[in-house]
Symmetry: C2
Subunit: 236 residues, 2 copies
DNA sequence: TCCTTGTTGATTGTATACAACCATACCCCA
DNA sequence: TGGGGTATGGTTGTATACAATCAACAAGGA
């Protein structure tokens, strides 16, 4: 891959690199992003880095705390629920507006993505599986032919990968292959209402597979348990 | 109006000033926004102005052309249609999730906004009427209790004011008072499904009241017609 | 031991200088 | 007279220097 594009739009390439790294869970929530480090890494000045960081903050992928620097966002539980609820509204709405706009080639492209995701899952490539799963949802919404809608959904899906990185269990974090297949079949049959209903349940399934409770390491309780254990069992 | 806030977060205040000016149609689509001029006006350096402009560009309220500066965005017809279609999906979806969350105080607040809009309309204060009409929609969606959804809708409504500024006829550009009233009534009765349906039709009504045709002065056609007219003496 | 307070190092916030670029206007040549 | 190449002014793009801020640490006193 090109290391740095010397000519134009360095900020664009830096942005996409960071965006990809976050969505692939190669940069985990909570990771700090000092401007100097990034500037050195990408061979750019802090001015460029700053522009990129602001854009990522708008996307909700990082958080910029005044005077304290940027870090990969850690979505709160309410925020995560809101994101999935909004995705349900948007993606189901997209399906409802898709009637008569879907070609056979579109369906074939979706199937290809689905197959690639399946393969990645079998090979144990978790990052690729998550990325392809997201791409399936994005491409699906694209079929509605609404650029504004597509962009909103793409952003929410990027944030969803942060949610999965924060709350997902190591296994079964991504969509079940069969559910995507089912949606494709329903669209092929022109059953858009049923497809939308399936999509709603599909997203609910993903949301349910997350572990909301583990948030907040609960330092107090952990330490107390440790002290109790050492006090009752072996002396200090 | 306050000229400059000397203390902190100048960018925030500058942003909100510009945002308000755009949404109130005091800055019309196509207006150029040179960095120097803005910097001088607000008493800040170009660094601050740049940050604000990027944020406005992200909101879709201005367009930044590389090396050529920023200008108030002029939404294209397809973009405008997409924005309204997306609003329909989101606002109707919000209504559907509102069951059991609406208090009497919420309804009273909506009625107050509606009354204020009505008053502004009677007084002929077009800017205030547009602003209050938008505020009604935003506050309504807030009742769903989904912060992510609220933010998306708020952004789309801000862009809608640009659409109205570009394509709206001088009269009847804003929502009809009675339609907002009707939605409040339906919510008060707990008829959220009907309210969502009404909202959909309401947004379609707004969209239909715009004049899509006048966009693109159609230079080619105009000139050809002119030439034909002078050449043929009258017409074809 | 705990709390307070001053210092220090690192990091971000802002302004400004300079380079790059585009659009206009001008001039020369056919 | 018109077309094309070229200066020029004005505007944006980028880097860097400096100021402001915060967190961590150390030292002093109760």
């Amino acid at each position: 891959m090109k290391e740095t594009s010397l000519t134009p739009e360095r900020d664009e390439t830096i942005y996409s690199h960071l965006h990809a790294a976050i969505c692939d869970s190669r940069l985990l929530p909570g990771t700090r992003l000092p401007e100097d480090t990034l500037a050195e890494t990408f061979g750019a000045s802090r001015t460029i880095i700053r522009k990129v960081l602001q854009r990522l903050a708008y996307d909700g992928l990082i958080e910029i705390r005044p005077n304290r620097g940027a870090l990969i966002a850690e979505p709160s539980v309410p925020e995560a629920r809101d994101i999935f609820a909004t995705r349900r509204i948007l993606e189901c709405g997209a399906l409802a507006e898709m009637a008569g706009k879907v070609s056979a080639a579109d369906l074939a492209a979706l199937k290809a993505i689905n197959a690639a995701e399946d393969e990645a899952q079998l090979k144990g490539d978790r990052a690729a599986a998550i990325r392809l799963s997201g791409e399936f949802h994005v491409r699906l919404v694209d079929l509605a032919g609404n650029a504004v809608l597509s962009e909103l959904v793409a952003r929410l899906i990027a944030r969803s990968s942060l949610i999965i990185a924060t709350y997902g269990s190591p296994i079964s974090v991504t969509c079940r292959h069969s559910e995507h297949e089912q949606i494709i079949d329903l669209i092929a049959r022109g059953a858009f209402t049923e497809a939308a209903q399936w999509m709603g349940e599909h997203l609910t399934t993903i949301e349910r597979s997350l572990r909301w409770e583990q948030e907040t390491p609960d330092l107090q309780a952990v330490l107390r348990e440790f002290i109790d254990g050492s006090a009752a069992g072996r002396g200090k």
